[in-house]
Symmetry: C2
Subunit: 329 residues, 2 copies
């Protein structure tokens, strides 16, 4: 993080033709981008969606069956999902990577590690080797996007059951109570929500490890590992990462545990309506740009926030300074 | 407001390939747009900036002198202000109208009613005829933009002293205490803030009228009247109005008082950091999309929110429905 660039940016912001500080969080964003990049540039955003299945769905934690994961991958490939529409709105590329879907995913980039994870209520989600393979696959996907010109990445997720898995990861890393951090996911309530919370509790109690990679392998999803890998790679390349909601924040927590400096490149896009997101954000010191009751995932909340990041970069590149108007600032 | 279109839109939203309600406030926006327009379409947004001066600046209520208004108009015309940069980011046209600047404004559209208003602490800001002239000028500006193809308008403001005037209007219409609704404007604090509050109190106490047009003429700015006129005209043409922060909300309140149905076409872009915005929003039942500590005006907060409105419209136009994937919704 370039502190000199940050303080230079603060001075520049005060010379722009507006009252000091009047662009609020857009100014904070500009300073943060300067610290990451020197000159802010978030052009050619790349949405990187990772899809995987979760053995824990056999416990009945989700409203939908696992088969919806591959159907939604088809939807992404065909351009019909919410993230496709929002990506088009912001001029972002979309790559859809099968990192562990159970079944075929024609048209998706295949980096499949295996056909879905183990059921975290009773067994490890994946082996350490599988976790590393998914981390590396995510890193490769980010590297490819950045080499093609992306100056900002938006990791997204698809995987029926992944709010359960994210809750388990966040519980393990924040120490928060399961009831405080598990929510309705795609729409579970009442008895099914209590069952989901019980499953998360069983998963968290089952493990005794403390190393980040061990926890990720025990409780994670393959898409969490891939997203974390993408984040670590992007941070290493000084590329801002626009973090989506609940699932992406669980992955961001994994990235930070594995590579603490990666946090310096996080910009939090939105506050999820999913209970528990707040705890993960608190732990990372994140204050999202948007709070619009979104709870969809796929990277949609981050894509919705992207125009604000782009505006922050544009303001410092394009606005006039007071001396242009013949005024002493 | 077309209630049938709203309920049809609610049904359509539930068929889209996402969990019901998971796009949160974007879904609410889509329903609201459907009620206004039938099929949501917010393409070709038009930023309409109205600039005017305020006699009340002679009381010393602002950090800047009146001469900054015409300098900033020059900046708008040259494309160097924050609103120019944000308008470019969202693909919006910008028109800059001099509705009452003291002095010359080369390059701006001239609809000047007079060279600045009277000092509201001691006299009426304008006559009823002048208020009507400004309302009509604003309406004409909106009509021109809509006839050129704008499907959404963003009224913006420039005028040194206009937070003082906006506070007076909001105090008169909401009955709120002056200390609760007057804030730092471009940066006044301490003694100067107390002086500003005293000036607002004197202005509000000076008047005894209750008719909206009388209040607007007594306490308003020419840009408030023009913005209100633009809003009323747009609403009459079933065109959504993205309302900026504190100044624009004072104008929106005027529009609503003069033509109550215009409120149905308001979408509130952002919650201003300026104290008192909350009271105006409460009175109109508005819940802004963004809360980013902006306090600049010019239409910037509305422009920052525009991509969300555009996304809401795109989602319902472009997303696949479950039956496209062979799933019963």
């Amino acid at each position: 993080r370039n502190k000199k660039a940050e303080s230079d940016m603060e001075m520049h912001l005060n010379n722009l033709t507006k009252p000091a500080g009047s662009l609020g969080r857009l100014e904070e964003l500009a300073v943060k981008l300067a610290g990451m990049q020197g000159i802010p540039d978030v052009s050619h955003p790349a949405v990187l969606v990772f899809a995987g299945d979760h053995g824990v769905t056999e416990e009945g934690v989700s409203l939908y069956g696992q088969e919806l994961t591959s159907l939604m991958v088809k939807n992404f490939v065909q351009g019909g999902a919410a993230i496709n529409v929002l990506a088009k709105e912001i001029g972002a590329s979309v790559t859809v990577t099968d990192i562990g879907v159970k079944g075929e995913t024609p048209g998706a980039e295949s980096k499949k590690v295996k056909n879905g994870t183990g059921n975290i209520a009773v067994e490890a989600a994946m082996s350490l080797e599988e976790a590393e393979q998914a981390l590396n696959a995510g890193a490769d996907t980010a590297a490819e996007a950045i080499e093609k010109g992306a100056k900002l990445i938006i990791p997204g997720d698809m995987g029926i059951g992944n709010t359960t898995v994210s809750s388990a990861l966040i519980a393990a890393w924040t120490g928060a109570g399961v009831n405080d951090i598990s929510g309705n996911g795609t729409g579970v309530t009442g008895t099914q929500l209590r069952l989901k919370q019980d499953v998360i509790r069983r998963a968290v109690r089952r493990i005794s490890c403390t190393e980040p990679l061990d926890i990720l392998a025990e409780l994670g999803g393959l898409e969490h590992a891939a997203m974390a890998g993408a984040m670590i790679e992007a941070a290493g390349r000084k590329t801002p990462i626009l973090v989506d909601g609940f699932i992406a924040s669980a992955a961001a927590l994994a990235a930070e545990k594995l590579a603490p400096l990666s946090k310096e490149y996080f910009i939090f896009g939105h506050r999820s309506a999913e209970a528990g997101h707040g705890r993960a954000l608190e732990m990372m010191g994140g204050e999202p740009l948007l709070d619009l009751q979104l709870r969809l995932g796929e990277g949609t909340g981050a894509a919705a926030a992207y125009p604000l990041v782009s505006m922050a970069a544009a303001v410092v590149r394009e606005m006039a300074v007071f001396s242009d108007l013949g005024i002493d600032a």
